[in-house]
Protein backbone atom coordinates (compact mmCIF):
# COMPACT_ATOMS: atom_id res chain seq x y z
CA UNK A 1 0.00 0.00 0.00
CA UNK A 2 1.23 3.46 -0.85
CA UNK A 3 0.99 5.87 2.04
CA UNK A 4 2.06 9.36 2.96
CA UNK A 5 2.61 10.96 6.29
CA UNK A 6 4.42 13.93 7.69
CA UNK A 7 7.32 12.84 9.85
CA UNK A 8 9.18 15.47 11.87
CA UNK A 9 7.80 18.15 9.59
CA UNK A 10 8.74 16.43 6.33
CA UNK A 11 6.31 14.71 3.97
CA UNK A 12 7.24 11.11 3.37
CA UNK A 13 5.64 8.74 0.90
CA UNK A 14 6.42 5.07 0.78
CA UNK A 15 5.17 1.66 -0.20
CA UNK A 16 4.83 -0.93 2.54
CA UNK A 17 2.45 -3.62 3.69
CA UNK A 18 -0.28 -1.68 5.53
CA UNK A 19 -0.02 -3.80 8.67
CA UNK A 20 3.68 -3.05 9.07
CA UNK A 21 4.23 -1.56 12.49
CA UNK A 22 4.86 2.18 12.49
CA UNK A 23 7.94 1.33 14.57
CA UNK A 24 9.39 -0.74 11.74
CA UNK A 25 8.66 1.98 9.19
CA UNK A 26 10.45 4.57 11.31
CA UNK A 27 13.46 2.42 12.14
CA UNK A 28 13.67 0.76 8.73
CA UNK A 29 12.97 2.71 5.54
CA UNK A 30 12.96 6.11 7.29
CA UNK A 31 16.19 5.40 9.18
CA UNK A 32 14.90 7.01 12.37
CA UNK A 33 16.46 4.64 14.89
CA UNK A 34 16.03 7.03 17.80
CA UNK A 35 12.70 5.31 18.51
CA UNK A 36 13.49 2.14 20.47
CA UNK A 37 11.82 -1.25 20.86
CA UNK A 38 11.80 -2.58 24.41
CA UNK A 39 8.96 -5.09 24.56
CA UNK A 40 6.95 -5.03 21.34
CA UNK A 41 3.63 -5.12 23.16
CA UNK A 42 2.89 -1.64 24.39
CA UNK A 43 4.10 -2.16 27.93
CA UNK A 44 7.42 -0.33 28.17
CA UNK A 45 6.76 2.85 26.19
CA UNK A 46 10.26 2.99 24.67
CA UNK A 47 8.77 3.35 21.21
CA UNK A 48 6.54 6.29 22.13
CA UNK A 49 6.07 8.78 19.30
CA UNK A 50 3.45 11.46 18.82
CA UNK A 51 0.71 10.72 16.29
CA UNK A 52 -1.12 13.94 15.54
CA UNK A 53 0.40 15.26 18.75
CA UNK A 54 -0.74 12.39 20.99
CA UNK A 55 1.65 9.81 22.51
CA UNK A 56 1.24 6.29 21.10
CA UNK A 57 3.31 3.13 21.20
CA UNK A 58 4.73 2.78 17.69
CA UNK A 59 4.91 -1.00 18.19
CA UNK A 60 1.09 -1.16 18.34
CA UNK A 61 0.26 1.24 15.51
CA UNK A 62 0.05 -0.09 11.99
CA UNK A 63 1.34 2.02 9.15
CA UNK A 64 -1.90 1.78 7.17
CA UNK A 65 -3.70 3.70 9.89
CA UNK A 66 -1.14 6.53 9.77
CA UNK A 67 -1.77 7.49 6.17
CA UNK A 68 -2.29 11.24 5.98
CA UNK A 69 -1.29 11.84 9.58
CA UNK A 70 1.55 13.58 11.39
CA UNK A 71 4.28 11.79 13.31
CA UNK A 72 6.85 13.35 15.63
CA UNK A 73 9.83 11.31 16.83
CA UNK A 74 12.75 12.13 19.11
CA UNK A 75 14.75 13.20 16.06
CA UNK A 76 12.23 16.00 15.55
CA UNK A 77 12.63 17.60 18.98
CA UNK A 78 15.84 19.53 18.42
CA UNK A 79 15.94 22.39 15.98
CA UNK A 80 19.04 22.04 13.83
CA UNK A 81 21.86 21.64 16.34
CA UNK A 82 20.07 23.10 19.32
CA UNK A 83 18.55 20.72 21.81
CA UNK A 84 15.10 21.58 23.11
CA UNK A 85 14.67 22.76 26.71
CA UNK A 86 13.39 19.32 27.57
CA UNK A 87 16.36 17.54 26.02
CA UNK A 88 18.78 19.96 27.65
CA UNK A 89 17.18 19.40 31.05
CA UNK A 90 17.52 15.61 30.75
CA UNK A 91 21.26 16.02 30.07
CA UNK A 92 21.78 18.34 33.03
CA UNK A 93 19.39 16.98 35.62
CA UNK A 94 20.16 13.27 35.35
CA UNK A 95 16.99 12.35 33.46
CA UNK A 96 18.90 9.97 31.19
CA UNK A 97 21.05 7.12 32.39
CA UNK A 98 21.29 4.20 29.98
CA UNK A 99 19.19 6.24 27.59
CA UNK A 100 17.11 3.48 26.04
CA UNK A 101 13.82 4.70 27.54
CA UNK A 102 14.79 8.35 27.09
CA UNK A 103 13.42 9.00 23.59
CA UNK A 104 10.01 7.61 24.57
CA UNK A 105 9.92 9.55 27.81
CA UNK A 106 10.92 12.74 26.02
CA UNK A 107 7.99 12.29 23.64
CA UNK A 108 5.50 11.70 26.44
CA UNK A 109 6.86 14.71 28.32
CA UNK A 110 6.86 16.85 25.19
CA UNK A 111 3.15 16.13 24.72
CA UNK A 112 2.49 16.94 28.37
CA UNK A 113 4.25 20.31 28.27
CA UNK A 114 2.53 21.22 25.01
CA UNK A 115 -0.87 20.70 26.65
CA UNK A 116 0.05 21.79 30.17
CA UNK A 117 3.08 24.08 30.39
CA UNK A 118 3.19 24.15 34.20
CA UNK A 119 2.33 20.63 35.36
CA UNK A 120 2.44 19.53 38.98
CA UNK A 121 4.44 16.51 40.10
CA UNK A 122 1.37 14.26 39.99
CA UNK A 123 0.61 15.28 36.42
CA UNK A 124 4.22 14.71 35.41
CA UNK A 125 4.24 11.25 36.95
CA UNK A 126 0.93 10.34 35.32
CA UNK A 127 2.12 11.52 31.91
CA UNK A 128 5.09 9.10 31.96
CA UNK A 129 3.36 6.19 33.70
CA UNK A 130 3.38 4.31 30.40
CA UNK A 131 7.16 4.56 30.10
CA UNK A 132 9.17 2.11 32.13
CA UNK A 133 12.61 3.22 33.27
CA UNK A 134 14.73 0.68 35.10
CA UNK A 135 17.70 2.95 35.84
CA UNK A 136 16.67 6.17 37.53
CA UNK A 137 13.90 5.49 40.01
CA UNK A 138 12.09 8.23 38.02
CA UNK A 139 12.95 11.08 40.37
CA UNK A 140 15.60 12.67 38.12
CA UNK A 141 13.22 12.30 35.18
CA UNK A 142 10.50 14.15 37.06
CA UNK A 143 13.03 16.83 38.03
CA UNK A 144 14.19 17.14 34.42
CA UNK A 145 10.64 17.70 33.18
CA UNK A 146 9.96 20.19 35.94
CA UNK A 147 13.16 22.05 35.09
CA UNK A 148 12.24 22.14 31.40
CA UNK A 149 8.84 23.61 32.27
CA UNK A 150 10.59 26.33 34.26
CA UNK A 151 12.98 27.11 31.42
CA UNK A 152 10.11 27.31 28.98
CA UNK A 153 8.14 29.62 31.23
CA UNK A 154 11.15 31.87 31.72
CA UNK A 155 11.66 32.08 27.98
CA UNK A 156 8.11 32.96 27.06
CA UNK A 157 7.25 36.62 27.50
CA UNK A 158 4.52 37.54 29.96
Amino acid sequence: MRMSFVVNGRSRTLDAPPLTRLLDILRGPLGLTGTKEGCGEGECGSCTVLLDGVPVNACLVVAGQCDGRTVLTVEGLASKDTLSDLQEAFVKEGGAQCGICTPGILMAAHALLAANPQPGEGEIRESIAGNICRCTGYQRIVESIRQAAKEQAAREPG
Binding site: A16, L19, D24, G42, P55, L60, V61, V62, A129
Partner: protein, 299 residues
Protein backbone atom coordinates in the same frame (compact mmCIF):
# COMPACT_ATOMS: atom_id res chain seq x y z
CA UNK B 1 4.19 -14.87 15.69
CA UNK B 2 6.85 -12.46 14.55
CA UNK B 3 5.59 -8.89 13.98
CA UNK B 4 6.85 -9.12 10.42
CA UNK B 5 4.36 -11.93 9.83
CA UNK B 6 1.48 -9.73 11.01
CA UNK B 7 2.35 -7.34 8.21
CA UNK B 8 1.34 -10.01 5.70
CA UNK B 9 -2.38 -9.90 6.56
CA UNK B 10 -4.56 -8.27 3.92
CA UNK B 11 -5.91 -4.86 4.98
CA UNK B 12 -8.73 -2.65 3.74
CA UNK B 13 -10.24 0.61 4.81
CA UNK B 14 -13.99 0.76 4.18
CA UNK B 15 -15.14 4.33 3.57
CA UNK B 16 -18.57 4.10 5.20
CA UNK B 17 -20.42 1.98 7.72
CA UNK B 18 -22.70 0.71 4.97
CA UNK B 19 -19.71 -0.45 2.95
CA UNK B 20 -18.28 -2.16 6.03
CA UNK B 21 -21.58 -3.96 6.68
CA UNK B 22 -21.76 -5.17 3.08
CA UNK B 23 -18.22 -6.55 3.25
CA UNK B 24 -18.92 -8.23 6.58
CA UNK B 25 -22.11 -9.80 5.30
CA UNK B 26 -20.51 -11.09 2.12
CA UNK B 27 -17.54 -12.57 3.95
CA UNK B 28 -19.66 -14.13 6.67
CA UNK B 29 -21.75 -15.72 3.93
CA UNK B 30 -18.62 -17.23 2.42
CA UNK B 31 -17.38 -18.27 5.87
CA UNK B 32 -14.33 -16.05 5.48
CA UNK B 33 -12.66 -14.68 8.56
CA UNK B 34 -12.60 -10.95 9.17
CA UNK B 35 -10.91 -8.85 11.83
CA UNK B 36 -12.16 -5.38 12.73
CA UNK B 37 -9.20 -3.24 13.71
CA UNK B 38 -9.55 -0.02 15.69
CA UNK B 39 -6.66 0.84 18.05
CA UNK B 40 -4.91 -2.51 17.75
CA UNK B 41 -3.84 -2.54 21.40
CA UNK B 42 -5.28 -6.01 21.95
CA UNK B 43 -5.21 -7.58 18.51
CA UNK B 44 -1.55 -6.89 17.75
CA UNK B 45 -0.44 -8.13 21.16
CA UNK B 46 -2.57 -11.26 20.82
CA UNK B 47 -1.16 -12.02 17.37
CA UNK B 48 2.33 -12.06 18.80
CA UNK B 49 1.29 -14.79 21.22
CA UNK B 50 -0.97 -16.69 18.86
CA UNK B 51 0.20 -19.60 16.76
CA UNK B 52 0.71 -18.54 13.16
CA UNK B 53 -2.24 -18.80 10.81
CA UNK B 54 -2.17 -20.46 7.40
CA UNK B 55 -0.47 -17.87 5.15
CA UNK B 56 -2.85 -18.84 2.34
CA UNK B 57 -5.96 -18.27 4.43
CA UNK B 58 -5.35 -15.13 6.46
CA UNK B 59 -8.30 -13.14 7.73
CA UNK B 60 -9.01 -9.76 6.15
CA UNK B 61 -8.27 -6.85 8.47
CA UNK B 62 -10.75 -3.99 8.16
CA UNK B 63 -9.82 -0.62 9.60
CA UNK B 64 -12.80 0.85 11.44
CA UNK B 65 -10.90 3.57 13.26
CA UNK B 66 -11.96 6.38 10.96
CA UNK B 67 -15.61 5.57 10.27
CA UNK B 68 -17.58 8.71 11.14
CA UNK B 69 -20.56 6.63 12.25
CA UNK B 70 -18.44 5.03 14.93
CA UNK B 71 -16.70 8.10 16.25
CA UNK B 72 -17.48 10.91 18.62
CA UNK B 73 -19.19 11.39 21.95
CA UNK B 74 -22.48 13.23 22.23
CA UNK B 75 -24.87 13.99 25.06
CA UNK B 76 -28.43 14.84 24.06
CA UNK B 77 -31.28 15.09 26.55
CA UNK B 78 -29.55 13.07 29.25
CA UNK B 79 -28.63 10.32 26.80
CA UNK B 80 -24.92 9.80 26.28
CA UNK B 81 -23.80 8.22 23.02
CA UNK B 82 -20.24 7.04 22.59
CA UNK B 83 -18.94 5.80 19.27
CA UNK B 84 -17.38 2.37 19.38
CA UNK B 85 -14.18 3.81 17.90
CA UNK B 86 -13.97 6.60 20.49
CA UNK B 87 -10.73 6.21 22.40
CA UNK B 88 -10.28 6.05 26.15
CA UNK B 89 -8.38 9.31 25.86
CA UNK B 90 -11.41 11.00 24.29
CA UNK B 91 -13.66 9.55 26.97
CA UNK B 92 -11.50 10.55 29.92
CA UNK B 93 -11.15 14.12 28.71
CA UNK B 94 -14.86 14.64 27.93
CA UNK B 95 -16.18 17.46 30.13
CA UNK B 96 -19.81 16.33 30.45
CA UNK B 97 -18.92 12.70 31.07
CA UNK B 98 -16.35 13.73 33.67
CA UNK B 99 -19.10 15.52 35.57
CA UNK B 100 -22.01 13.17 35.04
CA UNK B 101 -20.43 9.78 34.51
CA UNK B 102 -17.19 9.83 36.50
CA UNK B 103 -17.38 6.05 36.84
CA UNK B 104 -16.64 5.92 33.12
CA UNK B 105 -14.01 8.64 32.89
CA UNK B 106 -12.17 7.34 35.96
CA UNK B 107 -12.14 3.91 34.34
CA UNK B 108 -10.75 5.36 31.09
CA UNK B 109 -8.01 7.13 32.99
CA UNK B 110 -6.80 3.81 34.38
CA UNK B 111 -6.76 1.79 31.18
CA UNK B 112 -3.05 1.31 30.50
CA UNK B 113 -1.33 4.67 30.38
CA UNK B 114 -1.78 7.55 27.95
CA UNK B 115 -0.25 5.67 24.98
CA UNK B 116 -2.83 2.88 25.31
CA UNK B 117 -5.66 5.30 26.10
CA UNK B 118 -4.88 7.16 22.88
CA UNK B 119 -5.41 4.01 20.82
CA UNK B 120 -7.72 1.71 22.77
CA UNK B 121 -11.46 2.00 22.13
CA UNK B 122 -14.63 1.09 23.94
CA UNK B 123 -15.73 -1.03 20.98
CA UNK B 124 -12.53 -3.02 21.09
CA UNK B 125 -12.87 -3.52 24.82
CA UNK B 126 -16.38 -4.96 24.35
CA UNK B 127 -15.64 -7.04 21.26
CA UNK B 128 -12.59 -8.64 22.87
CA UNK B 129 -14.76 -9.76 25.82
CA UNK B 130 -11.79 -10.20 28.09
CA UNK B 131 -12.62 -11.14 31.68
CA UNK B 132 -10.57 -8.07 32.60
CA UNK B 133 -12.57 -5.65 30.42
CA UNK B 134 -12.71 -2.53 32.56
CA UNK B 135 -14.78 -0.63 30.00
CA UNK B 136 -17.45 -3.30 30.06
CA UNK B 137 -17.65 -3.08 33.85
CA UNK B 138 -18.25 0.65 33.78
CA UNK B 139 -20.87 0.32 31.03
CA UNK B 140 -22.68 -2.40 32.97
CA UNK B 141 -22.84 -0.10 35.98
CA UNK B 142 -24.32 2.59 33.74
CA UNK B 143 -26.87 0.17 32.28
CA UNK B 144 -25.69 0.97 28.79
CA UNK B 145 -27.04 -0.54 25.59
CA UNK B 146 -24.68 -1.83 22.93
CA UNK B 147 -25.80 -0.96 19.42
CA UNK B 148 -24.86 -3.41 16.67
CA UNK B 149 -25.19 -2.76 12.96
CA UNK B 150 -25.35 -5.03 9.93
CA UNK B 151 -26.87 -4.91 6.46
CA UNK B 152 -30.18 -5.73 8.18
CA UNK B 153 -30.05 -2.53 10.23
CA UNK B 154 -29.39 -1.93 13.90
CA UNK B 155 -30.19 -3.83 17.06
CA UNK B 156 -29.59 -3.09 20.70
CA UNK B 157 -28.32 -5.46 23.35
CA UNK B 158 -28.19 -4.47 27.03
CA UNK B 159 -24.59 -4.40 28.20
CA UNK B 160 -25.47 -6.71 31.07
CA UNK B 161 -26.44 -9.38 28.54
CA UNK B 162 -23.77 -8.75 25.95
CA UNK B 163 -21.30 -11.41 27.04
CA UNK B 164 -22.34 -15.03 26.73
CA UNK B 165 -19.21 -16.95 27.72
CA UNK B 166 -15.45 -16.55 28.02
CA UNK B 167 -14.41 -14.23 25.20
CA UNK B 168 -17.78 -14.64 23.52
CA UNK B 169 -20.44 -11.99 22.83
CA UNK B 170 -23.84 -11.63 21.19
CA UNK B 171 -22.26 -9.94 18.19
CA UNK B 172 -22.80 -12.02 15.05
CA UNK B 173 -20.08 -12.52 12.43
CA UNK B 174 -21.73 -10.01 10.10
CA UNK B 175 -22.24 -7.34 12.76
CA UNK B 176 -20.17 -4.47 14.05
CA UNK B 177 -20.47 -2.62 17.36
CA UNK B 178 -21.19 0.96 16.32
CA UNK B 179 -21.87 2.74 19.60
CA UNK B 180 -23.05 2.48 23.16
CA UNK B 181 -25.78 4.54 24.78
CA UNK B 182 -26.84 5.13 28.34
CA UNK B 183 -28.96 7.46 30.43
CA UNK B 184 -26.75 9.72 32.51
CA UNK B 185 -27.05 9.15 36.23
CA UNK B 186 -28.67 12.14 37.78
CA UNK B 187 -26.52 14.77 39.42
CA UNK B 188 -25.54 13.61 42.86
CA UNK B 189 -25.75 9.93 42.06
CA UNK B 190 -23.17 7.76 43.79
CA UNK B 191 -20.54 6.54 41.40
CA UNK B 192 -17.42 4.58 42.16
CA UNK B 193 -14.62 3.21 40.04
CA UNK B 194 -12.11 1.18 42.01
CA UNK B 195 -9.46 -0.78 40.17
CA UNK B 196 -7.20 -3.10 42.08
CA UNK B 197 -4.49 -3.83 39.58
CA UNK B 198 -1.03 -5.30 39.42
CA UNK B 199 0.48 -1.90 40.24
CA UNK B 200 -0.52 1.75 40.51
CA UNK B 201 -0.58 2.47 36.77
CA UNK B 202 -0.27 0.71 33.41
CA UNK B 203 -1.93 -2.30 35.02
CA UNK B 204 -4.45 -5.01 34.30
CA UNK B 205 -7.21 -5.50 36.84
CA UNK B 206 -7.05 -8.20 39.50
CA UNK B 207 -10.48 -6.97 40.55
CA UNK B 208 -12.23 -3.80 39.42
CA UNK B 209 -15.56 -2.47 40.65
CA UNK B 210 -17.80 -0.04 38.82
CA UNK B 211 -20.89 1.06 40.72
CA UNK B 212 -23.68 3.57 40.15
CA UNK B 213 -26.55 4.19 42.55
CA UNK B 214 -29.20 6.75 43.19
CA UNK B 215 -30.81 7.01 46.60
CA UNK B 216 -34.14 8.64 47.42
CA UNK B 217 -35.34 8.87 50.98
CA UNK B 218 -33.43 5.81 52.07
CA UNK B 219 -34.38 3.65 49.13
CA UNK B 220 -32.27 2.69 46.16
CA UNK B 221 -33.86 3.86 42.92
CA UNK B 222 -31.04 3.19 40.50
CA UNK B 223 -28.49 0.47 40.96
CA UNK B 224 -25.87 -0.73 38.51
CA UNK B 225 -22.70 -2.72 38.98
CA UNK B 226 -19.93 -4.16 36.92
CA UNK B 227 -16.94 -6.15 38.07
CA UNK B 228 -13.91 -7.22 36.06
CA UNK B 229 -11.54 -10.15 36.55
CA UNK B 230 -13.70 -12.19 38.91
CA UNK B 231 -15.40 -14.51 36.40
CA UNK B 232 -14.93 -15.81 32.83
CA UNK B 233 -16.41 -12.51 31.63
CA UNK B 234 -16.94 -9.12 33.21
CA UNK B 235 -20.06 -9.50 35.36
CA UNK B 236 -22.92 -7.22 36.40
CA UNK B 237 -23.36 -8.60 39.96
CA UNK B 238 -27.16 -9.16 39.69
CA UNK B 239 -27.64 -10.14 43.34
CA UNK B 240 -25.71 -7.13 44.56
CA UNK B 241 -27.66 -4.93 42.17
CA UNK B 242 -30.92 -6.19 43.69
CA UNK B 243 -29.69 -5.18 47.14
CA UNK B 244 -28.89 -1.75 45.73
CA UNK B 245 -32.62 -1.32 45.01
CA UNK B 246 -33.56 -2.12 48.58
CA UNK B 247 -36.40 -0.03 50.01
CA UNK B 248 -34.25 0.41 53.07
CA UNK B 249 -30.58 0.64 52.19
CA UNK B 250 -29.70 1.27 55.79
CA UNK B 251 -30.78 -2.23 56.69
CA UNK B 252 -28.70 -4.05 54.10
CA UNK B 253 -26.18 -6.01 56.13
CA UNK B 254 -22.58 -6.86 55.38
CA UNK B 255 -23.51 -10.55 55.59
CA UNK B 256 -26.13 -10.10 52.86
CA UNK B 257 -23.59 -8.25 50.72
CA UNK B 258 -20.98 -10.94 51.22
CA UNK B 259 -23.45 -13.66 50.28
CA UNK B 260 -24.64 -11.73 47.20
CA UNK B 261 -21.10 -11.03 46.03
CA UNK B 262 -20.17 -14.67 46.46
CA UNK B 263 -23.18 -15.71 44.35
CA UNK B 264 -22.30 -13.27 41.58
CA UNK B 265 -18.64 -14.06 41.04
CA UNK B 266 -16.53 -17.10 40.14
CA UNK B 267 -12.93 -16.03 40.64
CA UNK B 268 -9.96 -18.18 39.70
CA UNK B 269 -6.24 -18.43 40.37
CA UNK B 270 -4.20 -17.07 37.49
CA UNK B 271 -0.92 -15.26 36.87
CA UNK B 272 -2.23 -11.97 38.17
CA UNK B 273 -3.84 -13.07 41.42
CA UNK B 274 -5.59 -15.78 43.40
CA UNK B 275 -9.24 -16.78 43.70
CA UNK B 276 -9.21 -16.28 47.48
CA UNK B 277 -7.74 -12.80 47.24
CA UNK B 278 -10.16 -11.81 44.52
CA UNK B 279 -13.14 -13.04 46.51
CA UNK B 280 -11.97 -11.09 49.53
CA UNK B 281 -11.35 -7.89 47.60
CA UNK B 282 -14.61 -8.17 45.65
CA UNK B 283 -16.55 -8.35 48.90
CA UNK B 284 -14.56 -5.56 50.49
CA UNK B 285 -15.14 -3.23 47.53
CA UNK B 286 -18.86 -3.95 47.43
CA UNK B 287 -19.21 -3.37 51.16
CA UNK B 288 -17.19 -0.19 50.88
CA UNK B 289 -19.63 1.16 48.30
CA UNK B 290 -22.68 0.21 50.37
CA UNK B 291 -21.21 1.93 53.42
CA UNK B 292 -21.36 5.10 51.37
CA UNK B 293 -24.96 4.37 50.35
CA UNK B 294 -26.03 3.62 53.90
CA UNK B 295 -24.69 6.94 55.04
CA UNK B 296 -26.56 8.67 52.22
CA UNK B 297 -29.71 6.75 53.11
CA UNK B 298 -29.37 7.70 56.73
CA UNK B 299 -28.95 11.40 56.12
Amino acid sequence: MNPAEIALYPFERPGTLAELCRTLSARAGRKEKTVLLAGGTDWIVERRLAPPEDPNDLPLVLDVSRLTEMRGITVVKEIATIGAAATFLEIKSHPVLSRRAPVLTAMAREVGAVQIQARGTLGGNLAGASPAADGAAALMALDADVVLASIHGERRVPMTQFFTAYRTTRRAEDEVIVRVEFTLPRTGAHQVWRKVGTRAAQAISKVALAAVAEVERGRGVRSGFGMASVAPVTVSLPSVRALGLSPSLASVSDEELDAATRRDIAPIDDLRSTAAYRAHVASALVKGFFRELRIAAGS
